[in-house]
């Protein structure tokens, strides 16, 4: 019982980080796969609508493992949120909560997303569309242009001491800093 109670609490960084780090050797040893998730978007393009584009002509069939991995992530997330749910409200820095309340974000019943914005009910709201559609376009375009995301560059690339991955990670952080401090406040006040 105590086990379940403590497992349902949010896991600290020193538990989560090392497990994520172990994904690198796990994928290498189990299947000689380099950890990376954003390439899955490319494989979808290559398999479904290559449209004669050079960038989508490659043996995507060899990369189908990443889709299995992603289905696993979705199932894992479902298990954790359905059966290991933290009964308490997410603990956040009060400064952030204070700032978000200025934009009307006050509902923390969903720990993962500001549910007042991220809901199908506001599918025609400009805020939701910017946060999902524009955000998604930037994630898709940016990760391919940079040749990797947080997993491929920041975890896998840094683990392999690949210096371009350090440059990529620095610019991921810079982009995020600019967006969180200057762009998002503007979007949320729309």
């Amino acid at each position: 019982m105590n086990m379940i109670v403590s497992i349902s609490q949010p896991w600290p960084w020193y538990v989560a980080g090392p497990i994520i780090g172990l994904t690198v050797p796990a994928l290498l040893i189990l299947g000689n796969k380099n950890f990376g998730i954003s390439s899955s978007f490319r494989h979808v393009c290559a398999s479904c609508f290559p449209n004669g584009i050079e960038f989508f002509k490659y043996e995507w069939q060899k990369e189908r493992w990443v889709w299995i991995f992603i289905v696993g992530i979705i199932i894992g997330a479902w298990i954790a949120s359905a059966y290991l749910q933290n009964p308490n409200e997410i603990v956040l820095n009060p400064t952030l909560k204070n700032e978000l309340s200025q934009y009307g974000i006050t509902d923390y019943s969903n720990a993962y997303l500001p549910i007042q914005i991220f809901t199908w009910h506001s599918v025609f709201s400009i805020k939701l569309l910017i946060l999902t559609v524009i955000g998604g376009l930037l994630v898709g375009f940016g990760t391919r242009y940079a040749d990797g995301c947080t997993s491929g560059h920041s975890i896998m690339g840094l683990s392999a001491l690949n210096w371009p991955s350090l440059v990529a990670t620095i610019f991921f952080m810079l982009g995020g800093l600019v967006a969180a401090n200057f762009i998002i406040p503007y979007i949320l006040s729309l």
Binding site: W13, F55, N110
Partner: protein
Amino acid sequence: MSKDILNKRVEDASNKTLYNKITFGDLIKFGIVGVVFGIVFVKAEIISWFRIQEMFRFQSFHMYGIIGSAVIVGMISVWLINTFNIKTIDGEKIKINKKPFTLGTIIGGFLFGIGWAITGACPGPIFAQIGTGATVIILTVISAIAGTWLYGLVRHKIPH
């Protein structure tokens, strides 16, 4: 007879490299690693839009601790694999890809960073958010696929 078997083997081997069919073993291996990953993403609140806002405002150490300790464990693992020449479970030599530096590392990296903060998720957590029941995030996934496609389309026209 033995020639037939040999031909069959060659054919099987080439099928494997050409189509690389997904085997039951693959489903189990990558599926389980994915499930563990998904659980950790949710339980450590890595998929939380709020945690990402905290990180980029330097209001919490949580995400830095996660990324930092993950990288340290990853580095030690890669070092061990290289030093002891550890093979895969199928006995293959482990191959680690080196990503090259281009202008895209900078520009693309910056653009992705903006997207990461706005969506509150990098590609792995995007899928995990859907797993928690936030189906509206399908919009983010479709857009990310569209963004990738757009990159493929204009790839030769942008600096690298």
